[in-house]
Symmetry: C2
Protein backbone atom coordinates (compact mmCIF):
# COMPACT_ATOMS: atom_id res chain seq x y z
CA UNK A 1 0.00 0.00 0.00
CA UNK A 2 1.23 3.45 -0.90
CA UNK A 3 -0.19 6.86 -0.09
CA UNK A 4 0.14 10.27 -1.70
CA UNK A 5 -0.40 12.22 1.50
CA UNK A 6 0.03 11.98 5.26
CA UNK A 7 -2.40 13.94 7.39
CA UNK A 8 -2.03 14.64 11.09
CA UNK A 9 -5.10 15.72 13.08
CA UNK A 10 -3.82 17.43 16.19
CA UNK A 11 -6.21 18.04 19.08
CA UNK A 12 -4.80 20.58 21.51
CA UNK A 13 -6.81 20.84 24.70
CA UNK A 14 -6.28 22.78 27.91
CA UNK A 15 -4.23 25.41 26.09
CA UNK A 16 -3.29 28.87 27.29
CA UNK A 17 -6.30 30.90 26.21
CA UNK A 18 -4.32 34.15 26.10
CA UNK A 19 -2.14 32.66 23.38
CA UNK A 20 -5.18 31.30 21.51
CA UNK A 21 -6.64 34.80 21.17
CA UNK A 22 -3.41 36.52 20.12
CA UNK A 23 -3.36 36.74 16.31
CA UNK A 24 0.28 37.77 16.06
CA UNK A 25 1.52 35.01 18.34
CA UNK A 26 -0.57 32.32 16.62
CA UNK A 27 0.85 33.43 13.29
CA UNK A 28 4.44 33.35 14.57
CA UNK A 29 3.92 29.98 16.24
CA UNK A 30 2.34 28.27 13.20
CA UNK A 31 4.95 29.63 10.80
CA UNK A 32 7.76 28.55 13.11
CA UNK A 33 6.13 25.13 13.43
CA UNK A 34 6.11 24.83 9.63
CA UNK A 35 9.81 25.67 9.53
CA UNK A 36 10.59 23.17 12.31
CA UNK A 37 8.87 20.51 10.18
CA UNK A 38 11.27 21.47 7.39
CA UNK A 39 8.38 22.68 5.23
CA UNK A 40 8.74 25.30 2.52
CA UNK A 41 6.27 28.07 3.35
CA UNK A 42 4.65 29.50 0.21
CA UNK A 43 2.03 31.78 1.74
CA UNK A 44 -0.07 32.19 4.86
CA UNK A 45 -3.25 33.89 6.00
CA UNK A 46 -4.49 34.50 9.54
CA UNK A 47 -7.82 35.95 10.64
CA UNK A 48 -9.27 37.01 13.94
CA UNK A 49 -12.98 36.35 14.29
CA UNK A 50 -15.49 38.10 16.47
CA UNK A 51 -15.89 37.80 19.44
CA UNK A 52 -12.75 35.63 19.51
CA UNK A 53 -11.06 32.75 17.78
CA UNK A 54 -8.38 32.68 15.13
CA UNK A 55 -8.12 30.76 11.87
CA UNK A 56 -4.78 30.36 10.17
CA UNK A 57 -3.83 28.60 6.96
CA UNK A 58 -0.31 28.07 5.68
CA UNK A 59 0.29 26.86 2.12
CA UNK A 60 3.52 24.86 2.04
CA UNK A 61 5.16 23.35 -1.02
CA UNK A 62 4.37 19.99 0.60
CA UNK A 63 0.60 20.73 1.18
CA UNK A 64 -0.70 22.72 4.19
CA UNK A 65 -0.98 23.52 7.87
CA UNK A 66 -4.15 24.90 9.43
CA UNK A 67 -5.17 26.08 12.88
CA UNK A 68 -8.52 27.05 14.39
CA UNK A 69 -8.63 28.28 17.97
CA UNK A 70 -11.49 28.40 20.48
CA UNK A 71 -9.97 30.42 23.34
CA UNK A 72 -13.20 30.17 25.31
CA UNK A 73 -12.70 26.38 25.39
CA UNK A 74 -8.88 26.46 25.65
CA UNK A 75 -8.91 24.37 22.49
CA UNK A 76 -7.16 24.47 19.13
CA UNK A 77 -7.52 22.11 16.16
CA UNK A 78 -4.42 21.82 14.01
CA UNK A 79 -4.05 19.93 10.73
CA UNK A 80 -0.76 19.13 9.08
CA UNK A 81 -1.15 17.68 5.61
CA UNK A 82 2.10 16.65 3.95
CA UNK A 83 3.33 14.84 0.91
CA UNK A 84 6.79 13.45 0.36
CA UNK A 85 9.15 12.00 2.91
CA UNK A 86 11.34 14.95 3.76
CA UNK A 87 9.18 16.61 6.41
CA UNK A 88 9.35 16.22 10.16
CA UNK A 89 5.77 16.91 11.26
CA UNK A 90 6.43 15.53 14.74
CA UNK A 91 8.81 18.40 15.43
CA UNK A 92 6.08 20.86 14.43
CA UNK A 93 3.55 19.11 16.66
CA UNK A 94 5.82 19.09 19.74
CA UNK A 95 6.53 22.77 19.20
CA UNK A 96 2.82 23.61 18.93
CA UNK A 97 1.98 21.66 22.10
CA UNK A 98 4.67 23.56 23.98
CA UNK A 99 3.94 27.06 22.64
CA UNK A 100 0.15 26.82 23.03
CA UNK A 101 0.69 25.47 26.54
CA UNK A 102 -1.51 22.44 25.84
CA UNK A 103 -1.73 20.14 28.85
CA UNK A 104 -3.87 17.51 27.11
CA UNK A 105 -3.37 16.73 23.49
CA UNK A 106 -3.44 13.95 20.98
CA UNK A 107 -2.57 13.33 17.38
CA UNK A 108 -4.25 11.03 14.88
CA UNK A 109 -2.26 10.08 11.79
CA UNK A 110 -4.03 9.36 8.51
CA UNK A 111 -2.92 8.33 5.06
CA UNK A 112 -4.72 9.94 2.13
CA UNK A 113 -4.71 9.05 -1.55
CA UNK A 114 -4.12 5.33 -1.02
CA UNK A 115 -3.16 3.02 -3.82
CA UNK A 116 -2.46 -0.69 -3.98
CA UNK A 117 0.85 -2.29 -4.94
CA UNK A 118 -0.55 -2.61 -8.46
CA UNK A 119 -1.18 1.15 -8.53
CA UNK A 120 -4.98 0.94 -8.24
CA UNK A 121 -6.46 3.82 -6.28
CA UNK A 122 -8.47 2.85 -3.21
CA UNK A 123 -11.59 4.54 -1.93
CA UNK A 124 -10.58 4.40 1.71
CA UNK A 125 -8.24 6.26 3.98
CA UNK A 126 -5.94 4.64 6.52
CA UNK A 127 -5.94 5.58 10.17
CA UNK A 128 -3.18 4.73 12.63
CA UNK A 129 -4.49 3.07 15.77
CA UNK A 130 -2.41 1.08 18.23
CA UNK A 131 0.65 1.61 16.05
CA UNK A 132 -0.94 0.07 12.95
CA UNK A 133 -2.76 1.50 9.98
CA UNK A 134 -6.34 0.40 9.53
CA UNK A 135 -8.44 1.11 6.45
CA UNK A 136 -11.50 3.23 7.02
CA UNK A 137 -14.05 3.27 4.25
CA UNK A 138 -15.95 6.45 4.01
CA UNK A 139 -19.39 6.81 2.64
CA UNK A 140 -19.15 6.10 -1.06
CA UNK A 141 -20.59 8.88 -3.09
CA UNK A 142 -22.83 8.19 -6.01
CA UNK A 143 -22.62 10.41 -9.02
CA UNK A 144 -26.00 10.89 -10.63
CA UNK A 145 -25.72 11.94 -14.26
Amino acid sequence: MGALGTHFLVELNECNSEVLRDLKRIEEILLTAAKKANATVVESRFHQFSPFGISGLVVIAESHLSIHTWPEHNYAAVDIFTCGESLKPHLAISYLVEKLGSLKSSVVELKRGLFSKEGTVLDSIALKEGGRFRHVSGKILQVVH
Copy 2:
Protein backbone atom coordinates in the same frame (compact mmCIF):
# COMPACT_ATOMS: atom_id res chain seq x y z
CA MET B 1 -21.14 14.43 23.58
CA GLY B 2 -20.71 17.74 21.85
CA ALA B 3 -18.15 18.87 19.30
CA LEU B 4 -16.77 22.23 18.28
CA GLY B 5 -16.00 21.24 14.72
CA THR B 6 -17.07 18.86 11.99
CA HIS B 7 -14.43 17.78 9.53
CA PHE B 8 -15.06 16.02 6.21
CA LEU B 9 -12.18 14.18 4.53
CA VAL B 10 -13.12 13.84 0.88
CA GLU B 11 -11.19 11.39 -1.30
CA LEU B 12 -11.78 12.08 -4.98
CA ASN B 13 -10.38 9.38 -7.22
CA GLU B 14 -10.58 8.81 -10.96
CA CYS B 15 -11.03 12.52 -11.60
CA ASN B 16 -10.63 14.40 -14.86
CA SER B 17 -6.92 15.16 -14.84
CA GLU B 18 -7.33 18.17 -17.14
CA VAL B 19 -9.46 19.84 -14.49
CA LEU B 20 -7.00 18.88 -11.74
CA ARG B 21 -4.18 20.77 -13.50
CA ASP B 22 -6.22 23.90 -14.29
CA LEU B 23 -5.56 26.48 -11.59
CA LYS B 24 -8.36 28.84 -12.61
CA ARG B 25 -10.99 26.09 -12.78
CA ILE B 26 -9.94 24.57 -9.45
CA GLU B 27 -10.21 28.01 -7.87
CA GLU B 28 -13.69 28.63 -9.34
CA ILE B 29 -14.87 25.15 -8.37
CA LEU B 30 -13.67 25.34 -4.76
CA LEU B 31 -15.07 28.84 -4.23
CA THR B 32 -18.41 27.82 -5.73
CA ALA B 33 -18.41 24.71 -3.52
CA ALA B 34 -17.90 26.95 -0.47
CA LYS B 35 -20.88 29.07 -1.52
CA LYS B 36 -23.03 26.00 -2.15
CA ALA B 37 -22.25 24.93 1.42
CA ASN B 38 -23.56 28.32 2.53
CA ALA B 39 -20.12 29.29 3.85
CA THR B 40 -18.92 32.87 4.16
CA VAL B 41 -15.69 33.11 2.17
CA VAL B 42 -13.14 35.37 3.88
CA GLU B 43 -10.11 34.79 1.68
CA SER B 44 -8.57 32.21 -0.60
CA ARG B 45 -5.19 31.25 -2.03
CA PHE B 46 -4.39 28.87 -4.88
CA HIS B 47 -0.99 27.74 -6.10
CA GLN B 48 0.24 25.72 -9.02
CA PHE B 49 3.21 23.54 -8.28
CA SER B 50 5.85 22.23 -10.64
CA PRO B 51 5.62 19.98 -12.62
CA PHE B 52 1.89 19.84 -11.77
CA GLY B 53 -0.53 19.76 -8.91
CA ILE B 54 -2.54 22.53 -7.30
CA SER B 55 -3.05 23.47 -3.68
CA GLY B 56 -5.93 25.69 -2.66
CA LEU B 57 -7.01 26.98 0.73
CA VAL B 58 -10.18 28.91 1.47
CA VAL B 59 -10.65 30.64 4.81
CA ILE B 60 -14.35 30.73 5.63
CA ALA B 61 -15.95 32.38 8.65
CA GLU B 62 -16.89 28.84 9.69
CA SER B 63 -13.30 27.40 9.39
CA HIS B 64 -11.80 26.23 6.05
CA LEU B 65 -11.80 24.27 2.82
CA SER B 66 -8.65 22.87 1.26
CA ILE B 67 -7.80 21.00 -1.92
CA HIS B 68 -4.64 19.30 -3.15
CA THR B 69 -4.61 17.76 -6.61
CA TRP B 70 -2.40 15.06 -8.11
CA PRO B 71 -3.39 15.16 -11.79
CA GLU B 72 -0.89 12.41 -12.61
CA HIS B 73 -2.92 10.11 -10.33
CA ASN B 74 -6.36 11.58 -11.20
CA TYR B 75 -6.70 12.22 -7.47
CA ALA B 76 -7.69 15.15 -5.27
CA ALA B 77 -7.86 15.37 -1.48
CA VAL B 78 -10.41 17.84 -0.17
CA ASP B 79 -11.00 18.86 3.44
CA ILE B 80 -14.02 20.75 4.66
CA PHE B 81 -13.72 21.87 8.27
CA THR B 82 -16.79 23.60 9.65
CA CYS B 83 -18.16 24.87 12.91
CA GLY B 84 -21.74 25.77 13.65
CA GLU B 85 -24.87 24.16 12.28
CA SER B 86 -25.74 26.46 9.41
CA LEU B 87 -23.55 24.94 6.71
CA LYS B 88 -24.46 22.35 4.12
CA PRO B 89 -21.15 20.62 3.41
CA HIS B 90 -22.86 17.77 1.55
CA LEU B 91 -23.92 20.17 -1.18
CA ALA B 92 -20.30 21.28 -1.55
CA ILE B 93 -19.11 17.69 -1.72
CA SER B 94 -21.64 16.64 -4.38
CA TYR B 95 -20.68 19.68 -6.42
CA LEU B 96 -16.96 18.84 -6.18
CA VAL B 97 -17.53 15.21 -7.19
CA GLU B 98 -19.44 16.36 -10.25
CA LYS B 99 -17.14 19.18 -11.35
CA LEU B 100 -13.90 17.22 -10.88
CA GLY B 101 -15.50 14.32 -12.74
CA SER B 102 -14.67 11.88 -9.95
CA LEU B 103 -15.90 8.37 -10.72
CA LYS B 104 -14.78 6.90 -7.39
CA SER B 105 -14.98 8.92 -4.24
CA SER B 106 -15.67 8.67 -0.55
CA VAL B 107 -16.12 10.93 2.41
CA VAL B 108 -15.17 10.34 6.03
CA GLU B 109 -16.84 12.52 8.64
CA LEU B 110 -15.03 13.40 11.85
CA LYS B 111 -15.91 15.39 14.93
CA ARG B 112 -13.16 17.57 16.38
CA GLY B 113 -12.96 19.34 19.75
CA LEU B 114 -15.10 16.84 21.60
CA PHE B 115 -16.47 17.54 25.04
CA SER B 116 -18.60 15.51 27.42
CA LYS B 117 -22.08 16.46 28.63
CA GLU B 118 -20.38 17.93 31.70
CA GLY B 119 -18.26 20.15 29.47
CA THR B 120 -14.99 18.27 29.98
CA VAL B 121 -12.79 18.28 26.90
CA LEU B 122 -11.89 14.86 25.52
CA ASP B 123 -8.59 13.82 24.00
CA SER B 124 -10.12 11.84 21.18
CA ILE B 125 -11.83 12.55 17.91
CA ALA B 126 -14.98 10.83 16.67
CA LEU B 127 -15.16 9.10 13.31
CA LYS B 128 -18.37 8.12 11.56
CA GLU B 129 -18.41 4.50 10.46
CA GLY B 130 -21.49 2.51 9.55
CA GLY B 131 -23.67 5.50 10.38
CA ARG B 132 -22.38 5.82 13.96
CA PHE B 133 -19.64 7.88 15.55
CA ARG B 134 -16.81 5.95 17.12
CA HIS B 135 -14.18 7.54 19.35
CA VAL B 136 -10.63 7.30 18.08
CA SER B 137 -7.90 8.04 20.56
CA GLY B 138 -4.85 9.48 19.02
CA LYS B 139 -1.39 9.17 20.38
CA ILE B 140 -1.30 11.17 23.57
CA LEU B 141 1.48 13.69 23.59
CA GLN B 142 3.65 14.17 26.62
CA VAL B 143 4.84 17.62 27.43
CA VAL B 144 8.28 17.57 28.99
CA HIS B 145 9.05 20.70 30.97
